[in-house]
Symmetry: C2
Subunit: 266 residues, 2 copies
């Protein structure tokens, strides 16, 4: 049997998720719930704090507890996503322009998405140089992306991407952030300089957000972030692009399918 | 250029990771560092707090800052792991007994691992009933596992596993927790009741630990947990086992390889 505060929290969580309580609605005042015999002040406070930590409500001191805007859950399925991106890179520009992977994933149309890109040519930081197996003096194209839903205001992800400058510079358009969002994305950009990807690896870890990430992603208190390290390899197995993708743990999950080989029939 | 506290924190983090500073070593007193002109009290405190949040040191109020035991990093590679488990389920018992997946993954030998299993037959909680598509009255075998490294004291993972009772009961040995660790694990257990797995899906999310999880996994402050929902399907695509695996974010990362199909040569 769950403790009383947890039961109370679950009851309100259910009302919020089912839509019985909606964005901006006030939860009952603590004194009203205690008067109704729903639990002590401590119990109700613990329940409301749990709901706040789960990102469902906002507690405004001296006023009350209010339902937050419920964010769209995003399931990131890298296996189908990356192959879809690769196939799309071969399509004519007007086809590529129609939709990108973020639209596909979030179910939002392009006008609902706000996209920011900034580019910088700089020396590889030591951990990036080590990944690419280049000297720390090697020049890299460092790209930063932030994609938001206009409905949601908060970004869906923060991305830092690294490509060797010597590769990107083969097509000067790849050095111009003004061309973003590039129809067909990184896979098409790389295709313009003769690179076809053979494999991508996803490495996933979790940590608490920094203060800067909390602000940038508008994270409710008690949210963790998922850190995706995405490494793209050429057909020859050379690392050609590396991204760190910061995703809000209250909205995003990863899904991988692992088919298994049949047992031999004997 | 990173802020001064970050540079200072990175310097000590490097010394800890390289082994120049070892478990139990004291970091310099704050007043000594400020006297050496390494930064203000605020700067040094911020650096030490960042190291504590990253799990590298322990701050003991009024005494000093000490290097924590550095935990083994575990890279969980589900794709090779699950196929390896499936292949192993066909081996004779003495082969299966030799090593399990945790040993393979952590590089530890069986005597260094402490393993606890507890079993319970109970009604499916609503979210489990919904996953299996059974009524909430359906009986399930609920198994809880906790695996620790004797070196580390803290568990590597906490696992809650669910199997329909009607499936498990076909082999009464599957209802006896005293038979754990079962040589060959769940894949072999299922094989004894005629079940071959066709696919497993991993769904990964992140959240802050509960107070109970912080204690059970001995988590340093400022650690997130990774939550793996592992769903095992039969060859016919029916869900046959579902596990929630709680993994400490300061020690574990997931790695998936996504090979891409070649572009057609035209």
């Amino acid at each position: 049997m769950a403790p009383k505060w947890r039961q109370l929290a679950d009851e309100f969580a259910h009302q919020i998720r089912s839509g019985d309580l909606r964005e901006g609605d006030a939860l009952p005042q603590i004194r009203d719930l205690t008067a109704q015999g729903r639990g002590s002040t401590t119990t109700v406070q613990a329940a409301y704090r749990a709901l706040e930590n789960e990102g469902l409500v906002r507690i405004v001191r001296g006023r009350g507890t209010y339902v937050r805007r419920q964010r769209r859950r995003i399931v990131r399925q890298s296996q189908s996503r990356y192959q879809w991106e690769k196939d799309r890179a071969l399509l004519p520009e007007d086809e590529r322009r129609k939709t990108g992977v973020t639209e596909q994933e979030t179910g939002l149309r392009t006008p609902q998405l706000a996209f920011h890109a900034s580019y910088q040519v700089r020396k590889a930081p030591p951990e990036i140089a080590a990944r690419f197996g280049v000297s720390p003096d090697a020049q890299m194209l460092h790209r930063h992306y932030r994609t938001s839903s206009r409905d949601d205001t908060a970004p869906v992800s923060l991305v830092d991407s690294w490509i060797p400058y010597s590769v990107a510079a083969k097509n000067p358009e790849l050095l111009d952030s003004g061309r973003e969002p590039w129809p067909g994305g990184t896979m098409h950009q790389l295709a313009t300089v003769g690179v076809e990807l053979g494999e991508i690896t996803d490495t996933i870890s979790a940590r608490p957000p920094t203060a800067q990430e909390t602000t940038a992603l508008d994270l409710p208190p008690g949210t963790s972030i998922l850190v995706l390290h995405k490494a793209s390899y050429t057909l020859d197995g050379d690392l050609i692009e590396f991204s760190e993708v910061i995703l809000p743990g209250d909205r995003v999950e990863f899904l991988y399918r692992i088919p298994l080989k049949r047992w031999p029939t004997s």
